[in-house]
């Protein structure tokens, strides 16, 4: 059982878990990120329809990245801890 007591003391002595983003900030983060996604999506709709849509694709990538983090923050702030 010494294995168990070693792990027990390590568990007590090691610093506590801290998330990448503070939990209290998550709702605000969700609002900002998803708001940004919405705004960029609107902006994409105003762009000219080029043959090679570089600008459109770049803005779409940015919007999806923001949206990805925003949705995760949204899920966590409403209680679905993903």
């Amino acid at each position: 059982m010494s294995d168990y007591s070693v792990i027990q003391s390590l568990h007590k002595s090691a610093p506590a878990f801290s998330p990448y983003a503070p939990v209290g900030l998550l709702p605000y983060l969700a609002f900002v990120l998803l708001g940004g996604t919405f705004v960029l999506a609107f902006y994409i709709s105003t762009l000219p329809k080029n043959a090679i849509p570089i600008h459109e694709t770049l803005v779409a990538l940015l919007a999806s990245a923001l949206g990805g983090f925003g949705v995760v923050a949204l899920f966590n702030s409403v209680g679905v801890y993903v």
Partner: protein
């Protein structure tokens, strides 16, 4: 500590004449105290041991087959010391139908030196209601059966057994006849304690000859004033979220009233009047108190019909992890099932809560491992859990998983659990236990590593979905879906 499950220890057979290959001792006194509870019975046996040869360090304790089957927790310590003495794996002495536990002392004994050993056990399903049926307002009486003599492979100078009930209303107890080891009364009762003994000069008692010749069964029939709660199945799921810094624990419990089954009908009128006049009937399990961890929030309690609102919670504020070992801060929840449980009735419900992950998890930056401690169960005082399954769901992409249960499980499995926003699925560790009592209040520690890229998996999955939508919209913009092209847009 051992569990009553065959897979957890290996059983080996050996001939009776090799049985006592340990050192030789003499028991100067054995006192067994049986604390009669409801579903679980605590048996404490104190052995006063004298060594008969120098450098004796291994003492043998024998339990009869019946007793071993009922025992679900066992611990030996030396009187005055906190540390638990190590036990060698239990052996079956098939010739004598006894189970042998060998205990090592902390330091070997010299010749004629004495030491006091305390054997603590908890027995489950050792009592049964008698009469088996009782009306709604009747009393509840239980019967406990045990052997008269404590088995020991060594000679015993004096031995006694004290059976103690919670209330002095003991209805009957067996008076053993034809006992050669005493000249006085073989049994006495005073208050709530029935004492069998003292019996003098008992020879080696763990042999089959002694058992067939001398061993007697005694039964104590006593009144028990508290309802008998038994949890038939417990399914606990602990889900860890790193993004939300949250540990969600959910218990699915099937609660059973193991008292005498209800005779006749349940009368709501009689029940209401008895609760009004505060005459709690011991056959009715009306409410119970649970000590949940401190710092919990979002507690939910529902059953198949829906949310159960008949409960009260007083949540305690969060306790930092460094102090969590000795905290007596609990959130007290008074749980009242949807309907009162009469004898033989069952109730299935789900109880769960969220707790901050920093209270139970730590991060060791030297090895890059996270260490999480999940309690095996929320102890319901004096209740027995027949079948428990504890599932610990680690975050997606966890690797290098190691687990340290406080007592060996009957079964361990690793599987994949799929939850919201999962792509690969989360590793889930499942532990199966049987016959847990309030002594099995341990914490399972799991260590794992999660690389940074695994943390990004979820936002990436959602982002991929969104990119798909954007690509679709880019295509949609460039396609003309008008039916009549002559009309202006």
């Amino acid at each position: 500590m051992i569990l009553r499950c065959q897979l957890a220890f290996f059983v080996s057979l050996f001939a009776a004449n090799l049985a006592w290959a340990g050192h030789s001792f003499e028991n100067t006194a054995i006192v067994r105290t049986v604390e009669l509870g409801g579903a679980s019975v605590h048996v404490t046996t104190a052995f006063a041991v004298k060594a008969l040869e120098p450098k004796s360090s291994v003492y043998t304790i024998a339990l009869s087959k019946n007793e071993h089957q009922k025992t679900s927790w066992l611990e030996v310590r030396q009187k005055g010391q906190q540390a638990v003495l190590p036990l060698q794996p239990v052996l079956l002495d098939a010739a004598n139908d006894a189970y042998i536990y060998k205990v090592e002392f902390s330091k070997p004994l010299a010749m004629n030196e004495s030491v006091n050993l305390i054997l603590d056990t908890v027995q489950t399903h050792a009592t049964f209601p008698w009469p088996e049926q009782a009306g709604q307002t009747d009393d509840q009486a239980l019967k406990y059966e045990t052997d008269l003599y404590v088995l020991s492979p060594y000679k015993t100078a004096v031995q006694r057994t004290k059976v103690r009930a919670l209330s002095p209303r003991i209805l009957s107890y067996t008076t053993p006849e034809g006992i050669e080891f005493t000249t006085e009364n073989p049994v006495t009762k005073s208050g709530a304690t029935v004492t069998y003994g003292p019996y003098h000069n008992i020879p080696e008692s763990s042999s089959a000859e002694f058992v067939t010749k001398h061993q007697k069964h005694v039964t104590v029939h006593y009144n028990h004033d508290f309802p008998l709660a038994e949890i038939t199945t417990l399914k606990r799921a602990a889900e860890i979220s790193h993004w939300g810094a949250n540990l969600n624990i959910q218990d699915e419990i099937v609660l059973h009233n193991a008292g005498p089954t209800l005779k006749g009908h349940f009368s709501r009128l009689q029940f209401q009047s008895s609760t009004f006049y505060n005459r709690a009937s011991p056959t009715v399990l009306n409410w119970f108190t649970l000590h949940l961890p401190a710092g919990i929030k979002n507690v939910y309690y529902y059953d198949q019909i829906g949310n159960v609102s008949t409960s009260r919670l007083r949540a305690a504020p969060s306790v930092p992890k460094s102090l969590s070992g000795n905290s007596n801060q609990y959130s007290i929840m008074e749980v009242r099932p949807r309907y009162p449980l009469l004898g033989g009735w069952n109730y299935t419900f789900t109880l769960g809560w969220d707790a901050p992950l920093s209270d139970s998890t730590s991060f060791d930056s030297k090895t890059g491992k996270y260490i999480v401690g999940v309690p095996v169960m929320t102890v319901m005082p004096d209740a027995v859990v027949d079948d428990a399954e504890v599932k610990i769901i680690l975050p997606e992409g966890a690797t290098d998983i190691e687990f340290f249960p406080p007592f060996p499980a009957k079964n361990n499995t690793i599987s994949t659990h799929i939850s919201y926003l999962d792509t690969v699925g989360r590793p889930a560790l499942t532990f199966h236990y049987e016959h847990l009592t309030d002594k099995h209040n341990g914490i399972i520690y799991v260590t794992y590593k999660v690389p940074f890229s695994a943390h990004l998996r979820k936002p990436l999955a959602v982002a991929t979905g969104l990119i798909g939508l954007f690509v679709l919209s880019m295509g949609w913009r460039r396609v003309d879906v008008r039916l009549d092209t002559k009309q202006k847009l």
